[in-house]
Symmetry: C2
């Protein structure tokens, strides 16, 4: 398939860049964005990089009523030498296509999308903060913008990529979070959309998160919707347990989002010859391990925090304090290794990193 040309229209003025030391997540956006349109019969067209500007939608647009939309999330990192790195971006484009399939939306051309992304980042590279832990968060998303109130897949879509400089997840170094095990609300169930990165999964989680916040917990751990006993995932992270020297993470089952960080952690652990299993794991098994003193570490994995050690799990009032509420050695090692690979401070033995300065020439 030949690549569509990308029209570029640069913005007249430039926004002031935010102070990298006080950056928060998802509040600041760069000067430009990428947009493409889809019309049934014509396919994707009008690929363009334009000044960051509002989306104009008919009030009857399908996305506003029936949630036909998917998104992705990844990061670009800039090293002190000015080199820019993306972490496995082709995995995000692949996952976006899986999500698009599930939502009856048209696939994007992954190679074309990656090209558009690298072009956009090239234009916005001054927006990538360099302080350790900061990065440029990348949000590709597709919305159904046909004006029609019937419940049916749209015939018109838009694909956007927007960029947001984000701060370090850990202002004072990596530290453990407290997690509430959710007994009332369910995020997703087999046969539903839990395996896709789509709006409804996040909307449905808001209520449980609100309750957790009120109780002083920063995240919710979801159990499966059928038996209400098998661990699924945590907020915007997959979850890992180290029990008696073995690492366990819930197997992909259709209702869990398959994280790219999760995938990379599995690869790293296997590379290090640490025994690791993808399987069902019940909250009872975790409690039992805790009572037997063999629940050694618990940590979440995701693009935002990379690794998030868990210091406390509260299951219906029963509190499990993990590793004395301190970051465990495995979580620390994984965090350091992955962060260093992402930032170009450590060799990348897996071919995960796409270094832009060289790649752009190759892709263009």
């Amino acid at each position: 398939m030949s690549r569509h040309p990308i029209q570029i229209k640069l913005s007249e003025g430039k926004k002031e860049k935010p102070d990298p030391t006080t950056l928060v997540f998802g509040r600041n956006f760069t000067d430009h964005m990428f947009v493409a349109d889809f019309d049934e019969g014509r396919g994707w067209h009008s690929h363009r990089i334009v000044p960051y500007a509002p989306v104009t939608l008919d009030p009857a647009s399908i996305v506003l009523h029936y949630g036909q939309t998917v998104f992705e999330g990844m990061k670009a990192y800039k090293s002190d030498d000015g080199s820019v790195r993306l972490f496995r971006p082709e995995e995000n484009m692949k996952r976006m296509n899986m999500s698009l399939d599930r939502l009856c939306m048209p696939r994007i051309n992954e190679e074309q999308a990656l090209h558009a992304l690298t072009q956009l980042i090239q234009i916005e590279k001054d927006w990538i903060p360099t302080t350790w832990g900061t990065s440029l968060y990348i949000r590709p998303f597709v919305i159904a913008n046909e004006a029609f109130l019937g419940v049916a897949p749209a015939k018109k879509y838009q694909f956007y990529i927007i960029l947001s400089p984000v701060g370090s997840y850990y202002k004072e170094g990596i530290h453990p979070i407290r997690i509430l095990v959710e007994n009332e609300f369910v995020r997703a169930v087999k046969g539903g959309t839990g395996g896709a990165k789509t709006a409804g999964n996040y909307a449905s989680g808001l209520k449980a998160q609100q309750v957790a916040d009120q109780k002083g917990y920063s995240q919710v751990m979801w159990l499966d919707g059928v038996e209400r006993k098998y661990v699924e995932e945590v907020g915007s992270m997959n979850i890992f347990f180290k029990i008696n020297g073995e690492v366990i993470t819930p197997a992909i089952n259709g209702s869990i989002l398959e994280g790219i960080t999760r995938k990379s952690i599995l690869q790293l652990l296997r590379h290090w010859n640490i025994p690791v299993f993808e399987r069902k794991i019940s909250i009872d098994e975790i409690k039992e391990a805790y009572e037997n003193g063999v629940l050694e570490e618990v940590f979440g994995t995701g693009t935002a925090a990379v690794i998030s050690p868990v210091g406390e799990l509260n299951w219906d009032g029963y509190k499990m304090i993990v590793n004395d509420n301190m970051t465990g050695p495995l979580a620390k090692q994984l965090f350091d290794t992955l962060s260093n690979i992402q930032n170009g401070k450590e060799m990348d033995p897996f071919g995960w990193v796409l270094q832009l300065n060289n790649e752009i020439a190759k892709l263009a």
Copy 2:
């Protein structure tokens, strides 16, 4: 609570009204819409009726990424004498608040919303078609329009009401539809958002609907997500079974949307002293009734079609032909009675109808 004033700005030109005989669902919209804004700390404000125009959203708006949005659907009917009727609109506003609660969104003032709606309909009354079976479909909806990529309830929202003249659901009179019982996909599960009228529930149903379409079935019947055996509902309708002289509809359980048509049908049946039960009903029970020759009628209920008789249920290849694939007498009677009440052709013994010409004066 004192009512907010509604600013009215009329459109300069008027769109051409569509031919009532060829009207389809949800494609044509009237000249004006109602809008109000919400900001945390300030509450709902700037209530206004303005020319129908695009919604302008920051590309990072929460609704586009995390699906924080709810909607409602109801109809206005115009009689030959020019009188305009709404069917239980206060029930829709109440349900909208229930949905808003589930999605961590701010409640609307139901009385104020109803007032806004009647004002808007007053302005657009020439848009209400009068041919039997046609009506003005009303779509209130609330979207989260804060620009923030964090997964958290928004601090900014917009409430819209748009109107769409719609054709008769039955071009050639009421007739039965074919329904596929869904075994693979799940719409909603206890603990999820199935009981709310929110985007994600509809997005998750698209795939199953697409498969049904390809097989020549017009709707999907959902089974529960836990045991995969209890009937939930059908597309945008609740479902009723007449078995051996008794009428059964699945009980509200947290994953089924509580339809206002359903509620009205229950009231009508009780009024007529027809035995009716809200309880769990499994697909096996329906199959058994069919085999014993006592599955007398099956019909869906919802705002769009009022009553939709079901002529065939296909469960994994096992086809149940209901009432010789003809509209049953109970479905017919319910359809006629409810349609007549809605259109003002029959006495309304339940106080369901809000007749606008009188009510507007009362509300204003």
